[in-house]
Symmetry: C2
Amino acid sequence: MKTVGIVVEYNPFHNGHLYHAQKARESAQAEVVIAVMSGHFLQRGEPALVNKWARTRMALQNGVDIVIELPYVFSVQKAEYFAKGAISILNELFCDSFCFGSESGQLAPFLETLHQMEGSSALLDPLIRQYMGEGVSFPRAQTLARESLFGQQLPLDLSKPNNILGFHYIQANQQLAHPMEPLTIKRQQADFHEVTLGSHPIASATGIRKAIAEQKGQLQTIKPYVPAATFAELQHYLQTYGHFHDWGMYWPFLQYRLLASSAEELAAIYDVSEGMEYRLKEAARQSTGFTEFMQMVKTKRYTWTRIQRALVHILLHVSKEEMAAATESVRYTRLLGMNKQGRDYLNQIKKNMEVPLITKTAAFKESLAFDIKAAEIYALGLPSYSSHSLLQSEFNEHPVILT
Amino acid sequence: MKTVGIVVEYNPFHNGHLYHAQKARESAQAEVVIAVMSGHFLQRGEPALVNKWARTRMALQNGVDIVIELPYVFSVQKAEYFAKGAISILNELFCDSFCFGSESGQLAPFLETLHQMEGSSALLDPLIRQYMGEGVSFPRAQTLARESLFGQQLPLDLSKPNNILGFHYIQANQQLAHPMEPLTIKRQQADFHEVTLGSHPIASATGIRKAIAEQKGQLQTIKPYVPAATFAELQHYLQTYGHFHDWGMYWPFLQYRLLASSAEELAAIYDVSEGMEYRLKEAARQSTGFTEFMQMVKTKRYTWTRIQRALVHILLHVSKEEMAAATESVRYTRLLGMNKQGRDYLNQIKKNMEVPLITKTAAFKESLAFDIKAAEIYALGLPSYSSHSLLQSEFNEHPVILT
């Protein structure tokens, strides 16, 4: 069966995602669409609005055949590692192609940019370090370094988050022994960061989350922008757990963790850069909420998402050492859900797979250690009773099977 | 000026404590009564009902002239270390005597027991280990070992908590270069663990706390058993912070901490004995509250207070290594409050003191690291706004001065 892979977060699944899944299937002429999806904590260093099981159900009801979890070690990471982890999983699952959204809908700019930059990392890296030494953030230093090296000649605007991701998908794919066919489709929405909902049925996930946050318990506003299954899942989640997840929910734990840990302990955490630990501790002492805390912590040197990712790792106690070990050793595909078509495909390829296809958590506690911890901490944000049932779900929940 | 020391927790200060302070002054014929008091976390591994400043004010209004904080490294400890820390502080403050409550009101049984046991530790210790190897708790193993060595001949019942403390006071005092004069007075209440309030004006602190817990926001029941200043302080605390402190308040943080930490991290915590870490993690996963958690965790091998102390150290991230270093190096007396008489005395002795007399937190952040952390974590248990003001108090609050 011909198969196309996509890399997603579905926070939450909206009409733009539906379009992406359909177009991917079309342009790849695929019978099977496989989505690699972040678990409970996302690339931008945030808890997902609803848990991964609910997001899996949204996907399976809207044109995705198989949902695989992107492990924590890859999901809460900068674009390069995020892309590398996701692409390697699609490759393990024998995808013929993968398809991502881009601003232009053209592959050529990605391939040309990659070509130009290949071999120039020996020149780029010292420049990036130099700019960072002047106190700017990593993405900004990258942009400045590229501009000073290539002028305005690069065919791709690498300051756009979606272009950065696409670039790294292409790059990771080319490093495979047997690369998949890359495909891209033009994104149908105005901007990644668009925060207001317009008349077009496709809105950004950011805009949808903002609308949800502003109208607690009232979902009507977002109805035009999401498939019916998303709307039903969100309603059901609210009825079951009483809340959607956001950083505010985890603020008490983060504050506690920052105050109870020594500066040395914090410095050992992944993505906590030199000196950041003192700033974090002091801000934790002064702040009464997450947003106030972030305002106090942010500097020109680090982007908002860069800090948020460090905070997720702090919340989960993930050390530099553990992350280094895990990045080397994490090789598995964890099934979150599938439909009939997806099951047939997995049955067909399973015997040839080189990494385990995990369907039962209990048998893979060691490999899944970070993902299990993420699920447990994610659950703790909810009020006590709900969190208790959600705490158990990591062990009791089976892959979603849509027949 | 003639000075007597007492070792206290005042959780909360009640009529029995008033009697103790008065009798200590009388029997020592002292002009100054110095209380060494546990800070925010107590010897039995519990948060104090109200913070140390409120408890200091209770004491100063009821016959105590100076209140000194027993540092965290000594307060959340078994009787032996607790006593050693407290006695050494009273000695640093040049107390002529110290006075403790006992079941009999007689010193002789303490001195005789100490005499009999001295030199027999070479016989006792292996016996204690042997009994513990059979799976009983440390205090129980001690009792069994003593019985098998001395029969029923010991003049002191060392299974009673107050006798154990008294015994260790006497023992620690004798190890000083210049021992103070030991004094004891007969306790006026039925039993340390008495939990019902009777017609007698002296009730146990346990009974008083239980009555408070059962009638949230209603303090009338305890009025006959506490001095007016205690009653007023408790009322004021409730108005200011909305809550008294108990373990339930810290349960979300404890559960989070147990789930976010690896078994190895937990095993490195002070007082976490071999294998306990797995039991704690599993119970944290299963429980919806502190009491349910404790029921699940407790075994014949460990007493309730032994487990609670380990949990306080887990809550505060205090490692075996840090505690060992601190026990060696912690040498300071931190002033929590004094009246006119107390001030005169401290002015008089201050130049001869060998350890710093700390009145300003900010200048001693390093020495006070555990006490500051204890104050911060203690504050986090309260709802956000109150905890914010209480968080700051460790730095802003000056010693209570009663003129």
